[in-house]
């Protein structure tokens, strides 16, 4: 005979044996005693809280001719047949396997047949949330016109997935999570009945690890029993549940509280090498912190015995950290718990988490990623004040280095010798060169753009691999007979490209080869493009004041030789002052709303629509197709 799991042997057969659901069971018993039976019930609640057991007990109680005080006798043929799952009139259906419209229609049709043996036909539909929408509709029809002497019991762990139209037609019972106390008591009862020795602490560990599921608790208990010869020991319970001892939790918590990240990481390492379960650890830590929090509020709020710690432990723990920090810790833990659900390598998450929790201080320091730059400037390593000339030097170096790299990539096609001391480059700001853009825009036509789009791939083939990769996230957005405007999805890449003279030269060279005429390439960051275009329309309207050969503008530097870089940088210098807000985007002459298609600055002239029709529509049509996938700020 094979071994029977405890949860099967000790499955409740009477309402009285259902643990932790007194309100539900009392109501159901009353319904049977007073013969006020509804035709449809919804049993909702987490796994292992007794939904299906209650449904079967209810099926017995309504059909049992010897029921007493609302409880089934469990002796008569009907009761026993239901217990064994042999009664044709009690139909258990798992909605996961039978979730289609056809299956539910079939139930609907078959429900009309009179019961064969019992008084009531009882349909128990388990995991009812798995039904398809169509199936729910079919079920709804049945619930709207319930056949007499038919009872539907819908059971689900996820009631929020059930349509309201269904919920409004059933009597709903919410099964509660089994409290640790109830699970503890039930295990104690079972072990006493089985005459098995146990350590109460072990039962508490199991009760807490079961997370509100009685079946979980009994499965774990089974496992602990299989470990040791018919005795429930604390060590085995910790091993089976993957729980960390309270002492270790306490140590870790205090290290967090004292911001000792290295120590906390050591403790974390010990926990992980012992093979403890990451998820379980997070859960344990959350309930640990919750207990501390409650204790802070009032020591009466928790049962110290159930936590496995002593009163003085709680005193020191709750003194160590403020409530605000505790709340923030719990927030972080909740977040990481969600993320960790999808990983097979929890270690890194736990290490990052450890560092993060150590960072939590009582001062209001927002810990979320966006706020990082504002946080704690003093912690920054000392940097030379980025004065204009320093920036110029850096820029020069970087440009040079990029060029070198590209050169090396061209020749070696592979590994780059790493420069040991790289200058730290910060806040290079490259301006959008309106002087070059406007002429192109002024003469832009849709035809030219289409032409360039067709040539784009060919042009790319003339470039080196790194150059192509830079252009990977760019697109031509407007073109005239003599030039093209290329928009970059990311401001960073725009900067990179604008300062890369080789790139521009290569692109222009390629176009010249392909088209037979001299051709100019200008870059814009994509998020500025709509604004630039619109400003152009507003500023210029009909008159195209700027000549199409945009070489006359002051800041034509980027496309000329590298020696001109300094002048370009000079233009950009003010932007690199530390006083300027650290926006990664290059500043524009006007303050552009990111997607300001409609409302430009009020002092500008209204657009002369007729004149600007051609480039604008062309650009607009194009722009409409471009969906910015990543918000770059």
């Amino acid at each position: 005979m094979s071994y029977q799991a405890l949860y099967r042997v000790w499955r409740p057969q009477r309402f009285d044996e259902l643990v932790g659901q007194q309100i539900v069971t009392q109501t159901l018993k009353n319904a049977i005693i007073t013969n006020q039976i509804s035709h449809a019930y919804l049993f909702a609640g987490p796994r292992g809280t007794g939904k299906t057991s209650a449904a079967k007990i209810f099926a017995k109680a309504v059909n049992c001719h010897h029921s007493k005080d609302g409880e089934p006798c469990n002796q008569c043929d009907i009761c026993q047949a239901i217990t064994k799952g042999q009664l044709n009139d009690v139909i258990e259906i798992d909605a996961a396997s039978n979730n289609g419209v056809e299956e539910i229609r079939d139930i609907r049709d078959k429900a009309k047949y009179a019961p064969t043996q019992a008084d009531y036909k009882v349909y128990i539909i388990d995991e009812v949330h798995m039904l398809s929408t169509g199936a729910f509709n079919a079920l709804l029809k049945t619930l709207e016109e319930p056949p007499a002497n038919v009872i539907f019991i819908l059971a689900t762990t996820e009631p929020h997935k059930i349509p309201l139209t269904i919920i409004s037609r059933v009597q709903r019972f919410d099964f509660r999570r089994i409290s640790a106390q109830d699970a503890f008591d039930r295990m104690k009862y079972i072990l006493d009945q089985k005459k098995v020795d146990y350590e109460e602490k072990a039962l508490w560990v199991i009760a807490n690890a079961a997370e509100g599921g009685m079946r979980d608790a009994l499965s774990i208990l089974d496992q602990v029993l299989s470990f040791s010869d018919n005795e429930v020991k604390l060590d085995d319970a910790l091993l089976v549940t993957g729980s960390v001892t309270k002492q270790l939790l306490k140590k870790y918590f205090l290290e967090l509280a004292h911001h000792e990240s290295a120590n906390a990481l050591d403790t974390m390492k010990d926990i992980l090498t012992e093979g403890k379960d990451g998820q379980r650890f997070i859960e344990d830590l959350i309930s640990f912190i919750r207990d501390v929090l409650l204790y802070q509020e009032s020591p009466d709020l928790i049962s110290v015995a159930a936590t496995g710690l002593k009163d003085e432990d709680f005193k020191s723990l709750s003194a160590a950290v403020s409530a605000t920090s505790l709340y923030r810790m719990i927030d972080e833990l909740n977040d990481i718990q969600e993320e960790m659900r999808f990983t097979t390598h929890p270690d890194v998450y736990l290490e990052v988490l450890t560092v993060k929790l150590c960072q939590i201080k009582d001062q209001p320091t927002p810990a979320d990623a966006q706020a990082v730059p504002q946080q704690d400037t003093t912690a920054q390593p000392a940097q030379p004040s980025p004065a204009a000339d320093a920036t110029i030097k850096q820029l020069q170096q970087e440009v040079q280095q990029l060029q070198q790299t590209v050169q090396q990539l061209k020749t070696s096609g592979g590994a780059v010798a790493k420069k040991p001391a790289q200058p730290r480059v910060k806040q290079r700001k490259v301006q959008v060169n309106l002087g070059q853009i406007y002429p192109v825009l002024g003469a832009a036509t849709r035809k030219d753009l289409v032409n360039i789009q067709n040539l784009w791939e060919d042009m790319l083939n003339h470039l080196t691999v790194p150059q192509r990769s830079l252009l990977h996230v760019s697109k031509p957005v407007a073109a005239s007979a003599t030039g093209v405007i290329v928009a970059f999805n990311y401001a960073f890449l725009f900067q990179e490209a604008t300062t890369d003279d080789n790139l521009i030269a290569a692109m222009e060279g390629a176009f010249q080869q392909l088209m037979g005429t001299e051709y100019k390439v200008v870059f814009v960051p994509k998020n500025k493009w709509p604004q630039i275009r619109q400003n152009y329309i507003k500023e210029h309207g009909l008159d195209r004041r700027k000549p199409a050969t945009g070489k006359t503008t002051a800041s034509a530097a980027p496309k000329s030789a590298a020696s001109q870089a300094p002048s370009q940088a000079t233009t950009a210098a003010p932007a690199s002052q530390p006083t300027v807000p650290a926006s990664p985007e290059p500043p524009l002459p006007e303050e552009p709303p990111v997607d300001g298609d409609d409302d430009g600055p009020a002092d500008n002239q209204p657009a002369h629509s007729a004149a600007s029709q051609d480039p604008v529509t062309a650009a607009k049509q194009l722009f409409g197709d471009d969906i910015v996938k990543i918000e770059d700020n």
Partner: protein, 340 residues
């Protein structure tokens, strides 16, 4: 590796095999188990050992003899009373476990016991998992179900609560390193590899044609660029990493490497310098420098960014996009120095 399966199970998970032996001796084998452990931890080996042990005609000292007809057929995958299911694609769908359900309702073909082995139990769709609930809850006598998963929390809680969960013990770092050393995998790669997997076999696969060496170098170079806020890293995504990312598994390895190298950087910044705790030991100097260069908050943010991207492949986001976007966000984070 011509190692016998039961020896492998024993070597990988000695405590668990010993425990199962004890349970079998007491005739207390439960009807459903969930084996949890990373790749290479020996879940399948233990499951196979248990299959051999249950069916073997002449077990000796609690071990299957591996020579009897039963053992032979199990080893060749032809035993009619051992039913297996595994994810062929990314999921195990309802249709794919239909034969499993059919088998649950039928008698064993030969003896009085049947064993079901469901690999990748976390990959069952909710529908598939739910439709197994009834069978897993109360199978007939002599029916045993073993479910295997690398990720326990992705297994439906209602499934989990019907099983006894057995966590594979983590393999000892030193053991793993020794095994990899025996396979003549260079030290630098060994150290990195054990940060990604416990499976020696997997590392061997990665090392074929020198791929892993290139991957480690590529990610290190990318790291060196990106950690300097250098947009050259962006170029390196295409010139180095994309070329290495030839299939989905390799893409995932590259993403995992990226996570791992930043994890090392974070640990170094927190004063962990014990080389036994780190993987990219060659970059330790650079990491040390970063600690002085950036705030903890910045490094933390970067580490979190690398964690966020790891599951994107599963959502069918293109590898190049993932890493390019990550590069940009890291550079943004690192460049955004207190500019208020």
């Amino acid at each position: 590796m011509a190692e016998e399966p039961q020896e492998r199970a024993e070597r990988l998970q000695p405590r668990i095999v010993a425990r199962l032996k004890r349970i079998l001796d007491k005739h207390e084998l439960a009807h459903a188990y969930l084996f949890v452990g990373p790749d290479g931890s020996g879940k399948l080996e233990v499951a196979r050992w248990l299959a051999l042990r249950l069916f073997c005609l002449h077990p000796q000292d609690g071990e299957p003899d591996l020579t009897c007809a039963e053992c032979q057929r199990i080893l060749s995958g032809n035993h009619p009373d051992i039913v297996t299911a595994a994810a062929e694609g990314r999921q195990i769908k309802v249709d794919e476990i239909r034969h499993l359900k059919a088998e649950f309702t039928k008698s064993a073909m030969e003896g009085s016991q049947k064993l079901f082995i469901i690999q990748d139990a976390d990959k069952m769709t909710t529908g598939a998992a739910n439709s197994l609930l009834k069978f897993i809850e109360e199978p007939g006598p002599g029916v045993y179900i073993l479910m295997l998963t690398t990720n326990k929390s992705a297994v439906l809680p209602t499934i989990r609560s019907r099983t006894q969960v057995i966590e594979m013990q983590p393999l000892r770092r030193a053991d793993l390193l020794d095994q990899l050393a025996a396979l003549e995998i260079p030290k630098g790669q060994r150290l990195v590899a054990i940060g990604l997997t416990d499976s020696v076999q997997q590392v061997q696969e990665w090392c074929a044609d020198g791929w892993f060496a290139q991957a480690v170098t590529g990610v290190s170079q990318w790291f060196n660029s990106v950690s300097q806020g250098n947009m050259l890293a962006f170029v390196e995504v295409q010139t180095k990493l994309v070329k290495l990312a030839t299939d989905r598994d390799k893409q995932q390895v590259l993403l995992d490497l990226i996570t791992l190298i930043w994890r090392d950087a974070l640990l170094v910044a927190n004063g962990i310098s014990d080389p036994d705790r780190l993987h990219f030991v060659n970059e330790q100097g650079q990491m040390q420098a970063l600690a002085g260069q950036y705030s903890m908050a910045q490094l933390l943010t970067v580490s979190q960014l690398t964690l966020e991207i790891r599951h994107l492949l599963g959502q069918n986001v293109n590898f190049q996009n993932i890493v390019e976007q990550l590069t940009i966000r890291i550079v943004q984070t690192l460049r955004a120095v207190g500019a208020e």
